[in-house]
Symmetry: C2
Subunit: 155 residues, 2 copies
DNA sequence: CTAGTTAGTTCTAAAATAGAACCCACTTAT
DNA sequence: ATAAGTGGGTTCTATTTTAGAACTAACTAG
């Protein structure tokens, strides 16, 4: 990240720091849970509302935000009466690594492993997976020691 | 995730879904920005407060939460007068993949690439890195098609 | 023409956040 | 001495966000 003075939440979406920009869209208590539901194939308002226990007001607001950010697409699945559902766009599907990283972290950080009752497994073999980040260009692992953030001036 | 009735934020920390548990710690507007500062080597209260523009009240609260969650360790760096600083624990360092995933997503999702002015580069070569998740056990890429969430009963 | 469905909106009360001032335990400069 | 920092907080009030429950709109089905 780059220091350019204190930030307001309003201009966070245009902050030079990508972490800040990401959080301007998905950085609140409910948004990633809504996205998770979408990855589970849940598309309808009432179903999300009931499963999450989120208030209808906040759910409507988050869905609008996600649609505006291009993460979800709102589309009518019937006419007369017209009813809408929400689906992940490509940009939404690109959040998969964020979700996987959150799952991996939570499963060995909070609470300790024994209580963790949802894990990631291979769809083909059913074996547990052990996600790690590597650089696709070189194949080397990505850690705080191997990478650093760099500011790119101009454009 | 697993459906076990609507959730309250109080028991989110013990939810069977790891996404919910992760968000109970880092799922708000400021927390990952505080963590980001720590990865940048910022350790002191006043410095974080000034760089982020977060209110002192909220910063104190988040630091407490992160300490309670074992993400940060608060330690005195001098006596007379005693002054404290915050450092990432191993559990905190384990959030690195979450941060990297957020950066990667933001850089090609919000806003479009040309304005993105902070990127990840290799510390050794300076070359841009292209982070992807693979399964350390098999070497195969992790995508929504290759993995799925599984509930593990009992314990 | 009554009841049901489903994606929302509109209320009020409670909780979280912003912004600014203050406090405490010192150290350093006058 | 006394005055002026320093730095990690706390304490206020005002504003914003969220919770919770009720209500709409636009229909369809009995």
């Amino acid at each position: 990240m780059v220091y350019g003075g204190p930030m307001k939440w309003n201009d966070l979406g245009t902050d030079p720091c990508p972490v800040a920009r990401a959080l301007s869209v998905i950085g609140d208590r409910w948004t990633m849970l809504v996205v998770r539901e979408c990855f589970f194939g849940i598309r309808r308002f009432d179903q999300m509302q009931e499963r999450l226990g989120i208030t209808r007001h906040v759910l409507a607001d988050r869905l609008r935000t996600l649609e505006d950010a291009g993460v979800l697409r709102r589309e009518a699945y019937q006419e007369r009466p017209v009813r809408y559902e929400y689906r992940l766009t490509e940009r939404g599907k690109a959040l998969h690594p964020v979700l996987v990283s959150l799952i991996t972290w939570a499963n060995d950080a909070v609470p300790p492993p024994e209580q963790s009752s949802v894990t990631l497994v291979s769809r083909s073999t059913g074996a547990p997976v052990n996600p790690v980040l590597i650089d696709a260009n070189t194949g080397t692992p990505i850690t705080p020691h191997t990478v650093t953030a760099q500011r790119n001036e101009g454009a």
